[in-house]
């Protein structure tokens, strides 16, 4: 089959690397290591693979918000752009530690206490801490394998009332069971703007669900939804409760709407692609096809129908 290879179709190393990167970045949730193995086998060039992996893994890990255990088992760190200090270092606000990540191996190699300038001011921390506690309670009750983290996204050095600031709640839950050919992930990001002047909070959420089932086939679900709501600026504890309630309500509603979408599938949505039975509600009369073609010819000749 080698003779089908035309000389000008040979790719440059850069092109190969771009293709490898594309495969890695677009790997389904929880499957990048498997994709990496296949890509390596196809490239047959470790150097190209490694330079592609070095660029693709950080991007994948952040966009999938993967969760890694800290080496001293004091907690987990979520790899996301919100906690990113530099390419390999991520803040875990709950334990006030900075974790060093090996992106390609997807492990956390080192951890150190966070420096003061990496952490929010005591005033902000009060809000962050209260919200973290509430959200953690909610996530533990709701997601069997969920993790969450609350970051300060804007105004972390605000020392007291009078200024706006913004915190971000990240919830990530993943479920991988390669032996059952099934993987899935839930990610939600909630931005909460604390507006000092209006004394109001603006909550914006983006929820994303993906699932992949690939036993003798390849079927993927992607779903996402965004929403927005406002509420009052209250004390740290009261704000935390209100925000968590808003998150809980939206996420529950979203899940319910997913369920409705699934219920609608067989009889409405799917029907627009292909019906279960023909319009005649009986199996197609294959034994009688001569009549069908005759009828067609006649209608054609008489010019009725189309």
């Amino acid at each position: 089959m080698a003779d089908e290879q035309s000389p000008d179709s040979e790719l440059s190393d850069d092109q190969k690397k771009e293709i490898a990167k594309w495969f890695l970045i677009n790997a389904p949730a929880g499957e990048i290591q498997y994709v990496a193995k296949d890509v390596m086998a196809i490239l047959k060039d470790d150097d190209i693979y490694h330079s592609a992996a070095l660029e693709a893994f950080p991007e994948y890990n952040k966009s999938h918000m993967i969760c890694l255990e800290l080496p001293d088992r004091s907690g987990d760190v979520i790899v996301s752009s919100f906690g990113e200090i530099d390419k390999n270092k991520y803040l875990d606000p709950r334990t006030a530690q900075v974790a060093t990540i090996d992106h390609v191996k997807q492990v956390c190699t080192e951890v150190r206490p966070a420096a003061d300038e990496e952490l929010p001011s005591p005033y902000i921390e009060e809000f962050r801490f209260a919200l973290d506690a509430e959200v953690m309670k909610y996530v533990n009750d709701t997601y069997p394998k969920g993790v969450c983290s609350v970051y300060c996204a804007n105004g972390k050095d605000v020392e007291g009332p009078g200024f706006d600031f913004e915190v971000v709640v990240v919830i990530s839950a993943a479920r991988n069971s390669p032996q059952n050919f099934c993987n899935g992930s839930w990610r939600s990001v909630w931005n909460i703007e604390f507006k000092d002047e209006e004394q109001s909070l603006v909550v914006r959420g983006k929820m994303q669900v993906g699932a992949h089932y690939f036993e003798e086939g390849n079927v993927q679900l992607d779903s996402q939804h965004e929403c927005k709501e406002s509420t009052l600026f209250q004390s740290p504890e009261d704000s935390a409760t209100t925000i968590t309630n808003i998150i809980c309500r939206h996420e529950t509603e979203y899940l319910a709407s997913l369920e409705v979408s699934y219920l609608n599938l067989p009889d409405t949505t799917f029907k627009d692609l292909r019906r279960k039975l023909p319009v005649t509600r009986t199996l197609f009369p294959w034994h009688n096809t001569r009549q069908i073609s005759l009828a067609r010819d006649i209608t054609k000749e008489l010019g009725i129908g189309n």
């Binding site: 293709i19 196809i42 779903s223 319910a256 409405t268």
Partner: protein, 421 residues
């Protein structure tokens, strides 16, 4: 090549075009392997003569041109292109006509094309293609879909005729994607592809077209069913595992107690969601008895076939038995035979459950049926070749039990019915 197929299976079905062209450029030495093993979304061209659209695939391609089934002409024009023989072309024309009607009845729209050509071993190959755009802006009658594509590819290899029969080998692929989008619940998108094969030896008395058509119809229904029920169902299960629905989570909290009743509870509440059950089972032994019965028995008592299926998937013992208060050992079959609706029994016997075990006092499932006068169930057991001849220690055979219970007539009818079937 293995790695390439691994990637095809993992990468998002929406990207199949990109994946394929990437693979083709990375491994040009596998050019024809890749093209023959990977199905791509179907493309369409318009026939210049008739103005009708036709579908492009490997089977009507010659060089860079594609033959239209309507005019039998290559687009763009081709000197000396490959054509089927006159006889086969006649069948091709007929197949296109009939398949268009079939497509209309099942798809309420869409485009179909059939191509045939002679192969090297005196048979022929037929390729049936359907493409349907079911979106609001396309041909979706109901307007639910923001985006919706269904591509079906059926390739049938028909062997030479021998003693009035031919061998048919059908390979079918369905690729689909559907997206719904609305303000209150965001975008919801499912996409995927599956491929299956079916082999049959059929009499050609009614003609090749009839045989091929029936096979395709059966296959399409199967594929649609498994996409709908199995594949979409699995992704739904996954969502429920990630974030179990609220009412189940509450029940879960309620049910978590010092003893083992959680799984029991879930079995009862199962209709809502099987994911939680699976989750619980991960943490609990299946065979932990609860009031001396196993989960299997409980599932049967609650008459939920699906639970039983899940439990059995978790390797619960089909032939497990329980000792009742009076020390009679009941097997699952007995319980089902006595109490429950027949689908369950049918299900049990389908999954290789031993249907002839005896209870401690020697009762058979059949006898339980006879005892409780259960007509259809007797039928199922009989079809599954339960042994009428097995007697028990103390008792005569099944029919005498029936006689004793004044159920003879029904019993005979049931047996007769079964024999007729």
């Amino acid at each position: 090549m293995e790695a390439a197929m691994g990637l095809m299976r993992r990468m998002h079905p929406k990207h199949v075009d990109t994946v394929l062209s990437a693979l083709l450029s990375l491994m040009p030495e596998h050019f024809s392997d890749l093209l023959s093993q990977v199905d791509q979304p179907l493309q369409v061209l318009c026939d210049i003569d008739s103005g009708k659209e036709f579908i492009l695939c490997e089977y009507n391609r010659d060089a860079d041109s594609y033959r239209s089934p309507w005019s039998n002409k290559y687009h763009p024009q081709l000197e000396e292109g490959l054509y089927p023989s006159l006889e086969l072309r006649k069948l091709e024309i007929e197949a296109n006509d009939v398949f268009a009607v079939y497509r209309d009845q099942y798809y309420e729209g869409g485009i179909s094309s059939v191509y045939m050509y002679e192969d090297d071993n005196e048979g022929f190959v037929a390729c049936f293609l359907i493409k349907k755009d079911g979106s609001k802006s396309g041909q979706g009658r109901r307007g639910y879909l923001h985006e919706g594509e269904w591509d079906a590819i059926h390739v049938i290899e028909v062997g030479p005729e021998e003693d009035g029969t031919s061998h048919y080998c059908l390979t079918s692929t369905v690729m689909l994607s559907l997206t719904t989008d609305n303000e209150s619940c965001g975008t919801f998108s499912l996409s995927g592809s599956i491929r299956r094969q079916m082999n049959m030896d059929l009499s050609v008395a009614e003609g090749h077209l009839c045989n091929m058509g029936r096979m395709i119809e059966e296959m399409e229904s199967k594929l649609r069913y498994s996409l709908d029920q199995v594949y979409f169902g699995k992704t739904r299960e996954m969502v429920c595992t990630l974030r179990p629905p609220a009412e189940l989570a509450q029940q879960h909290e309620l049910a978590v107690g010092p003893h083992n009743s959680t799984v029991y509870y879930e079995v009862e509440q199962f209709e809502a969601c099987d994911a939680l059950l699976c989750m619980l089972l991960e943490h609990q032994s299946l065979h932990t008895p609860h009031h001396r019965s196993t989960h299997n028995h409980h599932a049967i008592l609650c008459a939920t076939t699906r639970v039983l299926t899940v439990l059995l998937r978790w390797e619960a013992d089909v032939n497990s038995s329980i000792a009742t208060a009076c020390k009679v050992v009941f097997h699952l079959v007995h319980v089902v035979a006595r109490l429950n609706p027949s689908p369950l029994l049918d299900h049990l016997s389908n999954i290789d459950c031993d249907i002839n075990p005896t209870t401690a006092i020697g009762n058979l499932a059949l006898m339980s049926c006879a005892n409780c006068k259960r007509n259809e169930r007797l039928g199922i057991l009989t079809v599954d070749s339960a042994d009428f001849g097995l007697g028990n220690k103390a008792n005569p055979l099944v029919d005498s039990i029936a006689r004793i219970n004044r159920w003879s007539l029904n019993f005979q009818q049931a047996v007769l019915y079964v024999l007729q079937v």
